[in-house]
Symmetry: C2
């Protein structure tokens, strides 16, 4: 079932979630990094640098650097494709799953407290 949301509720939802993320002072991802992370966790593998670059409409270095940053935080991991060693397969991590679990809970809770 689709989710019915009115414009003012959409803005309040974004404010509430963003405010929580900012105040929490914890993981601070770029919008692009967040989209990359979500894509890796929501869409079927395999995920490659060029694939993500095409999906987001950005250059490959953007993806490489985002993976560097998120790999440093242990949110994703990379390994060479054994069948074609030019490719890099991007994989999920426990910490990445945990982060998105907590994030989605935050969104769900914020949505639950929205005024009409």
């Amino acid at each position: 079932m689709s989710v019915r949301l009115r414009p003012i509720q959409a803005l309040r939802l974004w404010q509430e979630v963003g405010l929580n993320m900012v105040r929490r002072h914890a993981v601070d991802l770029t919008q692009r990094q967040m989209v990359i992370l979500l894509t890796i966790y929501l869409e079927p593998p395999p995920h490659t640098v060029r694939g993500l670059a095409a999906k987001l409409g950005v250059t490959k270095p953007v993806i490489t650097r985002a993976l560097d940053a998120m790999g440093e935080m242990d949110l994703v991991s990379r390994r060479r494709d054994p069948t074609d060693r030019r490719n890099v397969i991007i994989q999920r991590t426990v910490r990445g799953s945990l982060f998105l679990d907590e994030f989605s809970d935050l969104v769900v809770e914020a949505a639950g407290t929205l005024a009409p």
Copy 2:
């Protein structure tokens, strides 16, 4: 009425909206900038630098620089408080309203196409 949203739907919503924003290649705001903008437009005035800094739990220069950036894009404007000339009153602009209108429409539409 509160909005019922399941965790997986929350993640898909964020991905869809983020993907749209990234691909659009248009206004690219930091999470902090976005929260500031939403606060200015959603909560009752007057808005001051120190008030926003306290609300977000960040230092005042963060607010000043965010206002510099968004002022450059004509998303917000500033003027001195005539009654106490130490204060700066932050105000909305037509362009800022338009941007948030379009953004909220994007969110609403993305929510409407969410799978169960």
